[in-house]
């Protein structure tokens, strides 16, 4: 090798680790250096070989079971993301952790453990839903499509309404599990945000909304008509209150 860049910069370029200026400079160099051009072709060939060979080793089911048993995980976990999804998780992780310090302080003062756990569960479910492919089971903006979809899947009939005219377009629905209960999850858009409204059966009397913030997410919980509602989003608290009033109308 006579070109020293073939052993250094070439790899940074190939791995998309150069800044724009560095990449442009190297591309200019590539046009004149056959050694780097050949090197780049070889790297591409190597990478596509590795991709084709599918060298990624799948986790054996037995290991997954052992780990879950070790770590006292009773409920099903989110299955590991595909490689393209990890950025989403990184975003979710960053949000979660950013808010974590605040949460610790809040939970100390509130001391309401049940509520804390429930809020954490709901936010957890909200975060899960943001992973690609998890948001909706029935993708429709039409309440007359979404509502019948829940028939036979739940032992109650959640109120499915589109509030597009009021700025909360219905985007779809899915089944989710919150706190061990099967719930209906309705997904609404709110400007560029998403709102999950979890609905489950409740034997408690109607209750006025309670709001809070967990891990950086706003939630608003209320009970009406034998159902418990919990709206979660990263949108403004006022938005959730408005959505609650729409449900109450």
């Amino acid at each position: 090798m006579s070109c020293d860049r073939a052993d250094t910069i070439l790899h940074g370029y190939f791995d998309n680790e150069l800044d724009a200026l560095g990449a442009a400079e190297f591309e200019h160099h590539l046009e004149q250096c056959s050694e780097c051009a050949d090197g780049l072709a070889a790297l591409k060939s190597l990478r596509s070989s590795m991709n084709r060979a599918q060298l990624y080793e799948k986790t054996p089911a037995a290991l997954r079971k052992k780990v879950l048993a070790d770590l006292h995980v009773a409920r099903p976990v989110v299955i590991a993301p595909a490689r393209t999804q990890w950025r989403w998780l990184a975003v979710a992780a960053a949000l979660l952790l950013f808010a974590y310090a605040g949460w610790r302080v809040v939970s100390v003062f509130r001391g309401d453990n049940h509520e804390t756990v429930l809020a954490a569960e709901v936010v957890d479910a909200h975060l899960r839903s943001l992973q690609p492919g998890h948001l909706t089971d029935v993708l429709s903006t039409d309440q007359h499509t979404v509502k019948p979809w829940f028939d036979g899947k739940l032992d109650f009939s959640p109120p499915v309404r589109d509030f597009a005219a009021q700025g909360f377009p219905l985007q779809g629905g899915r089944l989710d599990v919150v706190n061990g209960r099967t719930t209906a999850a309705l997904v609404y858009g709110r400007r560029k945000h998403l709102v999950n409204v979890f609905i489950w059966l409740s034997s408690e009397p109607d209750a006025v909304p309670r709001e809070g913030s967990t891990q950086g997410y706003q939630w608003l919980e209320w009970r009406a008509g034998g159902m418990e509602f919990c709206a979660v989003s990263d949108t403004a608290p006022a938005d959730l209150e408005q959505l609650q009033r729409l449900f109450a109308e």
């Binding site: 052993d7 070439l10 799948k58 052992k66 590991a80």
Partner: protein, 185 residues
């Protein structure tokens, strides 16, 4: 291999830590197993090592104060695996690829393409590299890690990740087309 950490469950985390652990760390079990599998070159050993690493991460979790959770977990996996490699001196792991012996000549893209189409050969070639080269390739090519993440996981200075990858790739290319260096000039 007997292991004092295994065989019993971990202490229970507080409820909110448990939820965070399940949301943040558990989804990376596949990454943990995959890295362990390639570092230890054995599926069975990797199962034990990944299980041990998950338990450790569970114990250390209250001390995790944010950042890249996958990199944090893979650091633990890597440390666990290196401890295993240290203990497991059966000789296999000591016969590392010798750069001088195999020569620095680079094989042609054609020779590489042909050799690379054989999964078994690719696996053997990757396994013939020393762990420090194997890990950067696994992290970069299989796990899609950035140089920064590779630096965090492997404790290689960020400025040296590129040259380490370069040497690792060169060795893999040479190993792929055989000790004779294939039909390179």
């Amino acid at each position: 291999m007997s292991n004092p950490v295994l065989g019993k469950g971990a202490d229970v985390l507080e409820a909110q830590d448990q939820v965070r652990f399940e949301t943040l760390v558990l989804p990376h079990l596949d990454s943990a197993f995959n890295l362990a599998r390639w570092l230890l070159r054995s599926g069975a050993d990797a199962e034990d090592a990944a299980q041990e690493a998950m338990l450790r991460s569970y114990r250390f979790f209250p001390g995790f104060h944010g950042g890249d959770v996958r990199a944090w977990l893979l650091q633990i996996v890597r440390n666990t695996c290196y401890t295993w490699l240290e203990k497991d001196r059966h000789g296999k792991d000591m016969t590392e690829f010798n750069e001088e012996m195999h020569g620095p000549a680079s094989p042609t893209p054609e020779a590489l393409a042909i050799a690379g189409d054989n999964r078994e050969r690719l696996t053997h070639a990757l396994e013939s590299l020393p762990p420090r080269f194997r890990e950067v390739l696994v992290l970069r090519e299989l796990e899609g890690c950035s140089y920064k993440e590779i630096s965090v996981i492997t404790a290689i200075p960020i400025g040296t990740v590129m040259s380490t990858l370069s040497r690792a790739r060169r060795q893999l290319q040479v190993a792929l087309v055989g000790p004779a260096g294939g039909d390179c000039p």
